[in-house]
């Protein structure tokens, strides 16, 4: 058991480190990119220029990475919190034996599950005024669409505990309702489900932003997720890909983009493994 606990802690620490790095990066993101400097065009990493090299315009790739982190991190965190909140509500409702809760969750699930998520997201993006373009409403929409799965899992976990009978048994032991619901149910039993689902949603929101921005870049259109003065990680992928196809030495730019994607996926997997039941 102790070894399993250490492994779990190590995975959680790894995930938390990447999340921490993302938050710091988002806070350090420059509002605008540096001016183009053709003298430093397409510099490779560790060759005397910026640490991750530069793009074709001589702009440090680090700035793209930081700005991209600024675009995705907070909206992804908010989306994760939305899912976490709804999962907690569903789990507590099962334990409180609120009879209409299951029906409400089922109805919510059927309604939001009726359409492919990206279709709904694009309709939301269409409805947003251009000056309000941001990942926040898109991320929250995605989180609401994904919430039924998390709610269902949380409710099932609470159901396996025994639901209202579990609460009754703890009340008989003299615990207060607040302690029972917050500590015994949420912290001890639902924590794993909530962390897993929230981490997955964070990853999905980041990937969603990259996908939407990439599609916009490929068609030289404004992005749906950030203002024109900001760049997302999709820029690294698009620039890197088109440069390689065009025979330009910007493989490092594509590599950085893919590494950031892989780091996001690893973060979600690390939280998932850290939260797995023994």
């Amino acid at each position: 058991m102790r070894r399993a606990a250490w492994k779990s802690a190590a995975w959680t620490a790894a995930g938390a480190s990447i999340l921490g790095a993302l938050v710091l990066a988002s806070l350090a993101a420059p509002e605008f990119l540096s001016r183009p400097n053709l003298a430093e065009s397409a510099l490779l990493p560790f060759t005397g220029g910026p640490i991750l090299g530069t793009d074709i315009r001589g702009i440090p790739i680090t700035e793209y990475a930081l700005q991209g982190a600024g675009v995705v991190t907070m909206p992804a965190l908010v989306s994760a919190l939305v899912v976490a909140f709804l999962a907690i509500v569903a789990g507590l409702a099962r334990c409180a034996a609120i009879s209409w809760a299951d029906t409400a969750i089922q109805l919510f699930s059927e309604l939001v599950g009726a359409l492919p998520r990206l279709v709904v997201v694009l309709v939301v993006a269409l409805a947003m005024p251009a000056e309000w373009r941001s990942l926040f409403p898109i991320g929250v929409t995605w989180a609401l669409l994904a919430a039924p799965g998390a709610m269902d899992e949380a409710a099932s976990t609470a159901g396996r505990l025994g639901g209202a009978k579990f609460v009754e048994a703890l009340r008989a032991h003299g615990f207060t309702a607040t302690r029972i619901y917050l500590y015994h149910i949420v912290w001890l039993n639902l924590r794993g489900v909530i962390v897993r689902q929230s981490a997955d949603i964070m990853m999905q929101v980041v990937f969603l932003e990259i996908a939407l921005s990439y599609l916009a870049e490929s068609q030289q259109q404004p992005s749906l997720t950030h203002q024109d003065s900001t760049f997302s990680w999709a820029r690294l992928l698009y620039d890197g890909y088109t440069a390689i196809v065009g025979g330009l030495p910007l493989f490092h730019e594509l590599f950085v983009g893919i590494t950031l994607v892989a780091a996001t996926a690893f973060m979600a997997q690390a939280f998932r493994r850290g939260a797995q039941a023994r």
Binding site: L115, L118, V123, L215, A216
Partner: protein, 223 residues
């Protein structure tokens, strides 16, 4: 917005056919994967491979696919590629990315593993029957529900794949309509997706009626 009839775009210009083809071609290996996993033909040691591909977002996989073909065919735009190649690549990306194949294989295996642990399956072995034939009718309704959810997820990926691989379809129509703020096109494309979803729901309901004995069963008083 340019006055072109959307119905003729969908039907005559092949938007509808391409999207349906993409989904069907991606769907077939997923179903085969589920069947092979249920029969135990796919080793759990390969899960790392499926998970790796499944973790990759569809946009990245589509990027790799286009990069490979661009380097092979030497075209910087997609005009030089045969349409069948784009459809096959698109189907491959749809089927592998976003946890589609991995979820289908691993999910089916765990559903069957849970069911075959049930006492009635262990007793069936003692009657000379097979685990698979005993467990399958009881897990099929759940698997069909999972399959419908996966297809809905696949429809999300269709938008990305069609745009990146330059396949003319409802997804790319929706995307360009959104970018150009063409409400009519967005409405039409969303409606088509809603029709797909409804058709899937009806198919799932029909399959449940056919397969789930508890739906069409009339209780009998045996005493």
């Amino acid at each position: 917005m340019q006055g072109q009839k959307i119905v003729s775009m969908l039907v005559d210009d092949g938007y509808l056919v391409n999207t349906v083809l993409l989904v069907v071609m991606a769907f077939i290996p997923v179903v085969f994967g589920m069947f092979a996993s249920a029969k135990g033909w796919i080793s759990s040691k390969l899960d790392v491979v499926w998970n790796g591909a499944g973790l990759t977002p569809s946009v990245i996989l589509a990027l790799f696919a286009t990069a490979y073909v661009t380097i092979t065919y030497g075209a910087s735009s997609h005009d030089g590629w045969p349409a069948w190649l784009r459809l096959i690549l698109g189907a491959g990306v749809l089927g592998l990315a976003d946890g589609m194949f991995s979820g289908a294989v691993i999910g089916t295996r765990s559903v069957f593993a849970e069911e075959t642990k049930q006492r009635y399956v262990q007793m069936a072995i003692l009657r000379g029957e097979r685990e698979f034939t005993n467990a399958l009718p009881n897990v099929l309704p759940a698997l069909i529900g999972q399959l419908r959810a996966r297809i809905l997820l696949m429809l999300s990926g269709v938008v990305i794949v069609e745009v990146v691989l330059d396949v003319v379809g409802i997804g790319s129509l929706l995307w360009s309509g959104t970018l150009k703020q063409d409400f009519g096109v967005v409405l039409a494309a969303t409606f088509m997706f809603a029709v797909f979803s409804s058709v899937l729901l009806v198919l799932q309901a029909l399959a449940e009626i056919a397969l789930n004995i508890f739906i069409r069963y009339a209780p009998v008083e045996a005493s």
